[in-house]
């Protein structure tokens, strides 16, 4: 398993290089000049030309790409053209918030998805099944943006139970304070997290629930489940220990893929809930043609996605003893 992990980690390098090249090529094709955007509508053409030269934008593409790779190898992601700060620092400031939101949404997706999926499978073809799948249908159809606005309208504007916008202290820091006997910040952070995590997680929950249902129905019809019942095991034990474990494999790989979708969805969710993560930064960077920052963000997203998928693959071996990694 260790060899496998190392090999997979080594594969990150060509993958990251590929990502950089693809992003770089796309940015070459998109019209719009970062120097002109930076200097604004009132800038003179001479000022724009001078800034282009200073930023190296007039150099041939291979020279720019080569320079970027050379810096990247030394751990330098460049400087943001607009914020005039190191890209790594700018991303670092926001990364925690996005990871926190995406993980919370993933929790929502897993918990809701499994509860609905298992319930639908256990009472297949009953009203419970219909109700669960109707909810799933709703969840799949509702865009993140729309759901976010609805949740905010219901729970913040009408009921006033939860804050509509912003983020409390980072969850880990707040948890630390709670352990030290001050639970206030943790409750505040959680209250800020609930609505965006729900808005972002519901779509994935719906997809997971459908998959869990299908997978469970298949497994519940297998011989070993009948055997388990025949041995006199009680239903909850059969469902959780025997059926669910076997139904998990296809679901796990989808959960890994959903994490990527959650990172993408976070772009919109963050904009609605004023969540200070990478999503809002991504929109700003693209609309300003802040090339080094866009490259850095894409690279960061790609690495996060790759790490999560590695974890998913590793988890196969833990769940299914038949799977051998190496």
């Amino acid at each position: 398993m260790l060899t496998y992990t190392i090999r997979r980690l080594a594969l990150f390098v060509p993958m990251a290089a590929g990502m950089v090249i693809v992003t770089f090529s796309l940015l070459l094709l998109v019209p719009g000049d970062p120097a002109a955007v930076l200097l604004g509508q009132e800038a003179s053409p001479e000022d724009i030309a001078r800034l282009r030269m200073a930023l190296g934008l007039d150099d041939p593409w291979f020279a720019r790409l080569g320079r970027y790779f050379a810096a990247l190898l030394q751990g330098d992601m460049g400087r943001s053209i607009f914020q005039n700060q190191p890209v790594a620092g700018v991303i670092g400031e926001r990364l925690g918030a996005t990871v926190e939101l995406a993980l919370a949404a993933l929790m929502v997706a897993i918990v809701l998805g499994f509860v609905l999926g298992i319930a639908a499978a256990m009472w297949q073809a009953s009203w419970v099944d219909t109700a669960c799948m109707l909810l799933a249908q709703l969840g799949v159809s509702m865009p993140v943006y729309w759901l976010g606005i609805l949740l905010m309208l219901a729970f913040a504007v009408q009921l006033g139970w939860l804050p509509s916008i912003g983020r409390g202290e980072p969850l880990l820091a707040a948890a630390g304070m709670a352990l030290a006997g001050n639970p206030g910040p943790l409750l505040k952070s959680l209250s800020h997290l609930v609505l965006p995590a729900l808005a972002l997680g519901v779509n994935s929950a719906a997809i997971i629930s459908r998959l869990v249902r299908t997978s469970m129905i298949e497994v519940l019809g297998e011989d070993f489940v009948r055997t388990a019942y025949a041995k006199g095991l009680r239903r909850p034990r059969v469902i959780v220990r025997h059926a669910l474990r076997n139904a998990l494999l296809p679901v796990i790989s989808v959960i890994g893929l959903r994490f990527g979708a959650l990172l993408g969805g976070a772009v919109l969710t963050e904009s609605i809930f004023g969540w200070p993560g990478l999503g809002q930064l991504t929109i700003a960077a693209i609309s300003q043609r802040d090339i080094p920052l866009i490259q850095g963000i894409v690279l960061t997203y790609a690495m996060m996605f790759a790490v999560v998928n590695l974890l998913v693959d590793l988890s196969y071996a833990l769940i299914d003893p038949r799977v051998r990694l190496g």
Binding site: E42, F82, I272
Partner: protein
């Protein structure tokens, strides 16, 4: 949030109990929360380029002058100024001004601020406005002398730029992140992308603001920002707002609402170098197909105003008698007929010499109102037998990749911060001017704009700009669709808010509106 409300309410109650009856009306909330549509890019006033940066730096810094509601420059850090000759401006600074770090503000800081803006490598977005400055020097600690390369009367309006501390900046302080100004508020916390917290500066020279803390909360989505306001998580929200939210908020008696004309225009830029619209008669005919009233009433919900000319109603140069062509499809039809564009094949589109009458109108996708305006124009054009093709792309592609390369035929876009007519006309219409993307050239207009720029006599300038505006209203290198309006909604607990045309927030602090 609720706890802060409670705290604020408690403080207010206590101060009300303690204050004599006559002072009660002046009590301001200790904390005010304002929604922003974007985070500030920097808090260095020299490099500010987005509306949030302008609004926040206006609170943290002071400039040599401030602009009165009619845009006339008034004393601020400079208590007076004189012009011994048209090329020299001498400013006398106020006594006893200190920066937030406690250091005194002197003429050296003013010199440093403008010298650094003029350095090309600083990449200051407004550098072009200051390039006529040939030399700037400190005569003594309280006197600054600007020497110009040519007479340049709009300069005074641009000297509201915040003054930065020379010593701190040269010592390596990054004032883009940790600003140090002389303004009424100082930065206490900045969670990038999320919120900016400012606290009152007790040593402010014009008296500390009544509001102790100002939280500026960033919510990119217009509707979400309006909902946060309704949920009482914000006290003030301002343009940009979505029309459907404006309607709903106006129906709620708990909120105050005010609208004012801003300092911006939305206009059609005709590329006079393109054969399709190079003939002024064609530009006039197309302009007569722009239904300004429906656009501002239905698409902008009455926040923007129908524009009459290129001069802003709030400007000292304004004249109501100068009028561009108004919406008149019948006249437009006759004009197009006269130009030889008639529908000879009955397909509903005019043609001439076997060629259909087609124009490409373009704008950027970030502003839904502009996109809707274009779609609406397209349908009116179509009814008049003009085939309008829309080209809508994001701002960098549209502005830097298209209009600024003079590749457009007709483009819908805007100008902001028009504090002086020179700023909207000189570089835009002078022959070969750097912002003359429509390639317009008219020696008579060039001479008038030159007079407007060089004369120090306000009446002479006014006459020059009114003549220039009349030429533009007739020749139509620009067709000004609307004067941009500016709207604010606020919790009535703040009292009655005066609106600032640029969305500046000093009035929210219980200070005189600027």
């Amino acid at each position: 949030m609720r706890r802060q409300h409670l705290l604020a309410a408690t403080c207010i109650s206590l101060s009300v109990l303690a204050a004599p009856a006559g002072l009660m009306a002046q009590t301001a909330p200790t904390t005010v929360r304002v929604g922003l549509d974007v985070d500030a890019g920097t808090l260095d006033p020299r490099l500010a380029r987005d509306t949030s940066a302008y609004r926040v730096t206006d609170l943290i810094y002071d400039g040599l002058v401030r602009l009165a509601p009619d845009l006339k420059p008034m004393p601020n850090l400079a208590k007076s100024w004189e012009n011994p000759d048209p090329l020299t401006w001498i400013f006398t600074l106020r006594d006893g001004i200190v920066f937030h770090d406690g250091s005194p503000m002197t003429a050296d800081d003013v010199v440093f601020t403008y010298q650094t803006i003029l350095k090309p490598e600083m990449n200051a977005p407004l550098r072009a406005l200051f390039t006529p400055i040939a030399k700037i020097e400190a005569v003594d600690a309280k006197t600054v002398k600007f020497t110009l390369s040519a007479p340049y009367s709009p300069l005074l309006s641009y000297l509201e730029m915040g003054i930065v501390p020379k010593k701190a900046v040269e010592g390596g302080a990054d004032i883009g992140l940790k600003p140090i100004g002389t303004g009424p508020m100082k930065l206490s916390r900045w969670d990038r992308g999320s919120r900016i917290v400012l606290t009152a500066s007790p040593q402010y020279w014009a008296g500390a603001p009544k509001t102790q803390e100002l939280q500026l909360v960033v919510i990119g989505d217009n509707t979400a920002r309006a909902q946060a306001f309704e949920a009482k998580d914000l006290d003030v929200i301002q343009s940009p707002l979505s029309p459907q939210d404006i309607k709903r908020l106006q129906g709620n008696a708990a909120f105050g609402n005010a609208v004012t004309t801003g300092l911006g225009i939305t206009y059609l830029n005709f590329n006079t170098g393109d054969p399709a619209v190079s003939d002024p008669r064609m530009r006039r005919a197309l302009a007569q197909l722009v239904d300004q009233k429906s656009i501002v009433d239905d698409l902008y919900r009455g926040v923007d105003q129908v524009a009459g000319s290129i001069l802003l109603p709030s400007s000292w140069a304004y004249s109501a008698t100068i009028r561009q062509p108004a919406f008149n499809p019948a006249e437009a039809g006759k004009a197009l007929d006269a130009l030889g564009w008639k529908d000879t094949n009955g397909d509903g589109i005019r043609d001439k010499d076997g060629k259909k009458l087609t124009v490409t109108i373009s704008t950027h996708s970030e502003d839904p109102n502009r996109v809707q305006t274009l779609e609406f124009m397209q349908s009116v054009f179509q009814q008049a037998g003009v085939e309008a093709q829309l080209r809508i792309s994001d701002w960098p592609s549209f502005s830097t990749g298209y209009v600024q390369k003079s590749q457009h035929q007709v483009a819908l876009l805007g100008w902001l911060n028009i504090v002086d007519p020179d700023r909207l006309m000189y570089s835009q219409f002078s022959t070969n001017g750097p912002l003359n993307w429509g390639k317009y050239s008219n020696p008579e207009l060039d001479a008038l704009l030159d007079t407007g720029r060089k004369s120090l006599d306000l009446d002479a300038r006014k006459t020059a700009y009114q003549k220039a505006a009349a030429i533009i209203a007739n020749d139509l290198p620009y067709y000004v669709v609307s004067y941009q309006g500016y709207q604010v909604f606020y919790a009535k607990s703040l009292g009655t808010l005066e609106v600032n045309p640029r969305g500046y927030l000093r009035n929210v602090l219980g200070m005189a509106a600027r």
